[in-house]
């Protein structure tokens, strides 16, 4: 508790993320839920495991995903991974960790950008000219919210919504399970609009209506406002969820592609609760960032190209 309170004090009084600090890479144990932890190997193994695992149920008979979750097999630098010879691995100020890609499809494990989009993402224009949107206290966006900080899933017994709470900048996602239609295309939001359904033991969430003012990772990888994201949360043992996202965006990509990692149940002794991570309320850096010539993102490179 003391450590977490210190985190909070820092968050409130200093600043949130120093804009260019390397994100900490969560631990990557050799095995999770009996599966290897290189992302593609985990993905393949976990989908097999899911076929034989019977998850606990809510009173209404739905798979029970409730509880506190932490992401594993993730790194914040790039969904395309960080190779050993990447220049930033040896960066004197903020060295990046070597890491495998979170991408599990296509086979080359690269984002299938259209030609115009590749130089904007992938440590391109976004990375060089714009500050990470999280720096101005925005949501990390979908699916980056599920990449870093702890989260909590609640399933009201009425089965009409699932609530996914994230500690990161007090973000929440209200996932509509009631089958009603989404808002019109002109209603765009930071976390989009999410509709969910159960497919067997898998919670499937489709997210549209994204303003696409967020990034996928520290490298400035991105989607546009025509993106449709399909997340699949499948329990593979009592404490592990296989988390997979299919990203489609006819404006930016040549084909759908997938990332996958693990969500592991928080087993902190004595229990765990999310803390309030107010961000803008303690933010002091944006003025200086602007003075340095960096711009705030709001999708500018793809919106005004």
């Amino acid at each position: 508790m003391n450590t977490r309170r210190t985190d909070l004090v820092i968050a409130l009084t200093v600043l949130i993320a120093p804009p260019f600090a390397a994100a900490q890479t969560p631990e990557r144990p050799p095995i999770i839920a009996g599966c290897p932890t290189e992302n593609l190997a985990f993905h393949t193994c976990a989908l097999q495991k899911a076929k034989t695992f019977t998850p606990p149920r809510t009173p209404s008979g739905k798979p029970n995903l409730q509880g506190y979750w932490r992401s594993r097999l993730t790194q914040a630098f790039s969904v395309e991974g960080v190779a050993e010879d990447h220049p930033l691995v040896k960066d004197a100020v903020t060295p990046w960790d070597v890491a495998p890609p979170e991408i599990v499809e296509p086979a080359d494990r690269k984002i299938p950008y259209q030609p115009w989009a590749a130089p904007i993402g992938r440590q391109g224009v976004n990375f060089r000219e714009y500050v990470d949107p999280r720096t101005m206290c925005s949501t990390a966006g979908v699916p980056r919210l599920a990449l870093q900080d702890p989260s909590q899933i609640l399933q009201p017994p009425t089965d009409d919504h699932v609530l996914w709470l994230h500690e990161d900048h007090h973000q929440f996602r209200v996932i509509a399970m009631d089958g009603r239609p989404r808002p019109g295309d002109d209603v765009r939001m930071w976390n989009g609009f999410s509709r969910g359904r159960w497919e067997g033991n898998t919670l499937v969430i489709e997210t549209t209506n994204l303003n696409a003012h967020t990034w996928l990772d520290d490298s400035g990888n991105f989607y546009t406002d025509t993106a449709r994201l399909t997340e699949r949360l499948t329990p593979i043992d009592p404490d592990t969820i296989h988390y997979e996202v299919t990203l489609e965006d006819p404006k930016a990509y040549t084909r759908p592609w997938k990332v996958a990692w693990a969500l592991v149940r928080d087993r902190t002794p004595g229990g765990y609760e999310l803390f309030e991570e107010a961000c803008r309320e303690g933010e002091r850096d944006l003025g200086r960032i602007r003075e340095q010539g960096y711009k705030l993102y709001f999708g500018a490179p793809w919106r005004f190209r």
Partner: protein
């Protein structure tokens, strides 16, 4: 005849003033599978408390309004009353709302934006369209964490008293206000909220406000939360801080292009 007439009048009178039988009230309130009132849905006030929690005449851009305070008085200590007046004079820039900050509690409950309640046997969550605020009220019997903690939306622990959800809220900052008229509190703010469904589409919301640094005694606000009934209604987003930043970024973009 005369006698009979009187008797029937009495019967009518009794019927019309008798409280609605408990069973009728119960059936009018939606319930969760565990039998608690089902508070879930999108809710919004229809009052002017966001501008001023007290009685006030119209000002430019401010609808006239009847206050939501029992007795209309905020019992400020003398020095706090001076501070309130100063806040009012400087409200155009001093109001934390103008910075795009989280509104705090109870202010967040009566901003002119909807919020959604989601409810499980162990938690009542409130997700706010305004500033992506969130309150997670624990109804699992756990106590407040040990302070000092300064949270913008406080720490909320609730329990059911019959059909009323009673929520104790502490661990605030002194940075939030109670309305746009400069009413304020300190970090010793302590709220006791009562949520009682008055029917399927109305919640009677009462909040008792205590703050020994600012007020001379506890005082109470009450108002109605109305269910948003539009068939397609959804909780959307209004993130004032980011809208401010976006506007500035847009100005800079136009300047350089």
């Amino acid at each position: 005849m005369r006698h009979g007439f009187t008797r029937s009048m009495i019967a009518v009178a009794v019927l019309s003033v008798a409280p609605i039988p408990a069973t009728a009230q119960v059936s009018a309130v939606p319930r969760t599978p565990d039998g608690k009132p089902n508070l879930q849905g999108l809710w919004q006030v229809l009052n002017t408390a966001a501008w001023d929690i007290q009685d006030h005449s119209a000002r430019l851009g401010v609808p006239a309004g009847q206050g939501v305070i029992e007795g209309n008085e905020v019992p400020y200590q003398p020095s706090a009353l001076a501070k309130k007046r100063e806040n009012f004079e400087n409200r155009a820039t001093a109001d934390p709302e103008t910075k795009g900050y989280l509104p705090g509690v109870p202010r967040g409950m009566y901003m002119p934006f909807p919020f959604q309640i989601l409810q499980t046997p162990t938690h009542v969550a409130m997700t706010f369209e305004y500033a992506q605020g969130v309150r997670l009220i624990y109804t699992n019997g756990t106590p407040h964490p040990r302070g000092p903690i300064n949270w913008w939306m406080g720490d909320s622990r609730g329990r059911w008293e019959g059909d009323t959800l009673v929520v104790d809220v502490v661990h605030f900052t002194d940075q939030t206000w109670l309305d746009r008229a400069g009413n304020f509190h300190s970090d010793e703010l302590h709220l006791v909220e009562r949520y009682t469904m008055a029917g399927p589409d109305h919640i009677n919301y009462e909040v008792t406000v205590q703050d020994p640094k600012v007020f001379t005694r506890p005082w109470k606000m009450s108002m109605v939360l109305y269910r948003r009934k539009e068939p397609n209604v959804r909780l959307l987003e209004y993130v004032p801080g980011l809208l401010m930043e976006e506007e500035q970024a847009e100005r800079e973009r136009r300047k350089t292009n």
